[in-house]
């Protein structure tokens, strides 16, 4: 079933890619089918405890392959990813105008993201997890850059890819270390890991998770990503993709949760984002940016609770995870509808929409109250549980988490109040355009789900408990309350609501200055500085002088033989097999010296040819006809090449200064000595008897040929030959590229 669903996604993806242009906006409705099917499947599975697995093996010995496992937690995540996915597809059908360009491409990419995200939450092996992780980064990049004509969209897309993609690489390193420490690549089978590599891996994994889940200071990409069409912001950048880091922290909790480093780092990221994000949400005027900063804050809360790791905190985090996906998705969809119908998202230019857009108003109020944590909504249950979990901790964590959660909640209430009042309360009146059913219905459904979750808390609790049990290692689970009674947590909760309302109304009155996107600018500057540095290094290293390249290569190759100096021996050497070899060797030496000494290019070419052909004579004596043939042919082609090249060059070599000549002499001498050292060392230390006999018998038997040399080339060592011809092909491409490059460009091509 798992593989079937993934294949269904891929098939529809292919269909959309092939016929997206013809389908246009209707492609979005086609794209809604696979998520809808998946959502129904996961809904039927809710509450069943048996995990479902699937496996595609690639290389068995290396544990390489795709391993999927859908357990109770996976079901919850699947329902969020696919359920909201299907709604967002329907919403996007109303969001885009029928004439909008590129909706087919948009539908394809959005479905590709949906597939990658499903793969991510279903992955059990660290390899598949990493692959799908990076795939979500790439599809997110494409979706943010959807309006590719806008410079800001491209800059934001690039920033996102750099931060989340780079974080993915950090994650890969971390996962490798963790897998090594836990001695398995399957996440579901990891036991608490210990040792230095577990600690290092935990740090890297947490940093990777923080980049994806927009934790301070890596959050700078998320506000910029709001240039994407609103369906993307609702789906990727609030409900699903940014949850990937949270999911990772959650599923690795059993393996790493006991490490103090993991917990401290997670709490530091979480609490910092919780407060910094909420502060940002209070200051912006763009409704989407307010929601984006709010997402940073909520994600911080989730990371905090999952890092705390107690059963209570885990259950609270799960409830918040579900509630956040519902209310934040609904709010984004409402803001998108306002954007489409009123033509702006700036809250200072909007107002009085309560009367002109009643549907959107009630949806936003329900979702907003859930975000603020007011009863009778799912957000209230989650917030209540979070405060309860913080109070139940001991030691300094109790104070840190408790203060963070309470302060963050006050600010959350404040920015919710500000957003709702500014949008729907008194202010400049805007006349919205006609209502589109497709945009209103999904938002209303999501907001209503928040109420339904509160009303039907019993069944929901069962699902969340089994999911949390999987994450907290089967510990005894607490319970969630619709109405907890008169507890300290309820008192705090009500105080938070009152304080938040007060702060929110005060802030709404005041005009705040919108902060400059300093973090985004810094990250862009870092990237540009890196590129400039790379360009400078390239300019220094790739200077374009052929003789200097040659000298550098020879010197480097000579240095590589230094380790072999110790194993040089001369005891096994003998003068010759036949005296003829001595004569031929002397001829080669003479020709080589002549090539170096002669002043004309033609003379040097002829001397080199003489050396080459004499070497082929040495091969004749050694009884190697294949080598002779190849050597002669190569010499022939080289001579023809010289003839052609001489047409372009002066007859004599250009004069050389004394210093440069001595450098070249020195490097040539060292290079020659290095070859001698290498040969002496290799022949003095044979690694066993040469495998001639096996080769010969294998050649006739297996290879079906009598010419051993060729059977080695095309059969026994065919992989080497394959590599060599690939090198040849690359050389051919390189030569043509060099020859056709504009001759006047002084700097290397970018």
């Amino acid at each position: 079933m798992i593989l079937g669903l993934l294949l269904l996604h891929l098939a529809v993806c292919g269909l959309l890619a092939a016929s997206g242009r013809r389908l246009g906006r209707r492609g979005l409705l086609v794209g809604a089918v696979p998520p809808a099917v998946t959502a129904i499947w996961s809904a039927t599975r809710l509450g069943t405890s048996a995990p479902q697995t699937a496996e595609v093996t690639w290389v068995k010995g290396l544990d390489l392959g795709l391993t999927f496992r859908v357990d109770a937690f996976g079901d919850v995540m699947t329902l969020i990813v696919s359920g909201i996915g299907a709604l967002v597809f329907v919403y996007a059908h109303g969001y885009f105008s029928p004439e909008a360009a590129g909706t087919g491409r948009f539908a394809t990419t959005l479905l590709a993201f949906s597939t990658a995200m499903l793969g991510l939450v279903w992955s059990d092996s660290v390899w598949s997890l990493f692959i799908f992780w990076e795939l979500t980064s790439v599809t997110s990049f494409l979706l943010i850059g959807h309006k590719s004509a806008e410079g800001t969209a491209l800059a934001a897309a690039r920033r996102t890819l750099m931060i989340t993609g780079g974080g993915g690489l950090v994650l890969l390193a971390g996962l490798l270390l963790v897998a090594r420490a836990a001695d398995t690549t399957l996440i579901s089978q990891m036991l608490p890991a210990h040792g230095a590599s577990a600690v290092a891996g935990a740090v890297l994994v947490m940093v990777g998770a923080a980049t994806k889940s927009a934790q301070t200071p890596f959050h700078v990409w998320l506000p910029g990503a709001m240039v994407a069409p609103t369906p993307v912001s609702a789906y990727l950048h609030s409900a699903t993709m940014v949850k990937a880091g949270v999911v990772l922290v959650a599923v690795l909790g059993p393996a790493l949760g006991h490490l103090a480093t993991w917990q401290t780092l997670g709490l530091a990221f979480g609490i910092a984002s919780l407060l910094w994000g909420a502060g940002g949400a209070l200051r912006h005027r763009d409704a989407k940016l307010i929601l984006a900063w709010g997402t940073v804050s909520q994600l911080g809360m989730l990371i905090t609770l999952f890092s705390a790791g107690t059963p209570k905190a885990t259950l609270a985090a799960l409830a918040l995870l579900v509630a956040h996906a519902l209310f934040k998705g609904a709010l984004f969809l409402v803001v998108g509808e306002v954007d489409v119908r009123a033509g702006t998202r700036n809250v200072d230019e909007l107002g009085g929409l309560a009367r002109s857009m009643p549907g959107a108003f009630w949806t936003a109020v329900l979702a907003g109250l859930s975000m603020a944590g007011a009863p009778p909504l799912l957000g209230f249950v989650a917030k209540e549980a979070a405060i309860e979990a913080a109070l139940a901790l001991n030691g300094p964590e109790r104070w840190a988490i408790g203060a963070g959660v309470i302060a963050g909640s006050v600010l959350t209430v404040a920015y919710t109040v500000r957003l709702l009042v500014k949008l729907f309360g008194p202010g400049p009146r805007t006349e919205p355009a006609r209502r589109r059913t497709a945009t209103a219905a999904p938002a209303a459904l999501l907001a209503a789900a928040g109420v339904a979750g509160y009303a039907a808390l019993g069944p929901l609790l069962g699902v969340l408990k089994s999911a949390a049990g999987r994450l907290a290692g089967g510990a005894e689970m607490p319970t969630l309350y619709r109405w907890p009674g008169l507890t300290a947590a309820l008192g705090i909760s009500l105080a938070v609501l009152a304080a938040g309302l007060l702060v929110g109304l005060l802030v709404t009155r005041r005009q705040v200055r919108v902060p400059a996107p300093r973090g985004a600018r810094w990250s862009d500057q870092c990237l540009e500085a890196t590129l400039a540095f790379a360009k400078a290094v390239t300019g220094r290293v790739q200077h374009g002088s052929l003789p200097v390249y040659l000298v550098t290569m020879t010197a480097a190759a000579a240095l590589a033989t230094i380790p072999f100096l110790g194993s040089v021996g001369v005891g096994h050497l003998f003068a010759w097999d036949t005296p003829l070899q001595a004569i031929l060797a002397a001829t080669v030496v003479g020709a080589a010296l002549g090539a170096a000494a002669v002043g004309t290019r033609l003379g040097a070419g002829l001397a080199l040819g003489a050396a080459g052909i004499t070497i082929s004579a040495i091969f004749v004596i050694a009884g190697a006809p294949d080598l002779v043939l190849t050597q002669l042919l190569v010499e022939t082609v080289i001579v023809v090449g010289f003839v052609l090249a001489f047409g372009r060059l002066s007859r004599r070599f250009p004069p050389v200064g004394l210093r440069w000549r001595s450098v070249r002499l020195g490097v040539a001498g060292v290079g020659g000595a290095a070859v001698v050292v290498g040969l002496l060392a290799a022949s003095h230390n044979p690694a066993g008897a040469p495998p001639i006999a096996e080769m010969v018998s294998g050649s006739v038997g297996e290879g079906g040929g009598k010419n051993v040399v060729n059977v080695i080339l095309t059969d026994m060592r065919a992989l080497d030959t394959l590599g060599e011809v690939v090198v040849l092909a690359v050389v051919a491409v390189g030569i043509l590229a060099l020859a056709r490059a504009p001759a006047d460009s002084g700097s290397p091509a970018p």
């Binding site: 294949d626 082609v637 052609l644 079906g704 040929g705 394959l722 491409v733 030569i735």
Partner: protein, 150 residues
């Protein structure tokens, strides 16, 4: 340039090249049991192209196409065995009794050799093209001598 100066070279190369092609083909097929093989055959064909270019009988072009065809052949022979759950680069030998030729034995390594030969030809053509052989060979006036700085 040489073509313009020397009719002997032009005619000689024109006359010899068909024989050289035959020799190349022989090397290609003989390689399995006797000296020869794809690399040597490719060099012979490459030398034919190079000599004909010097004589102004041929313009080197499509080097990349040769390389691409060769790479495709080599890659196909290498990867196809995997589809039948064999090892990468495993080879099959066919033996048949053909009219006129008698007993003939050929393996998939022959296709591999063909690919290697095509790549070598492509490299030679690319080098000739890169050296600007066409202008040199067809230019009636010798090009201006210029010294190349270090």
């Amino acid at each position: 340039m040489i073509a313009a100066r020397s009719a002997i070279i032009r005619l000689g190369i024109g006359a010899v090249s068909p024989f050289a092609v035959v020799v190349g083909c022989y090397l290609l097929f003989a390689g399995h049991n006797n000296p020869g093989g794809g690399f040597a055959a490719g060099l012979v064909f490459g030398a034919v192209f190079a000599l004909r270019t010097i004589a102004g009988l041929h313009r080197p072009a499509h080097g990349i196409a040769w390389v691409a065809v060769g790479a495709l052949l080599v890659a196909a022979v290498s990867v196809l065995p995997l589809l039948w759950r064999d090892v990468l680069l495993d080879q099959y030998v066919l033996a048949a009794e053909l009219p006129l030729l008698g007993a003939v034995k050929a393996g998939t390594s022959l296709i591999f050799d063909l690919g290697v030969a095509a790549i070598v030809i492509g490299v030679v053509l690319a080098v000739l093209d890169g050296l600007g052989a066409t202008e040199l060979a067809t230019d009636q006036t010798p090009p201006a001598r210029r010294s190349v700085p270090e």
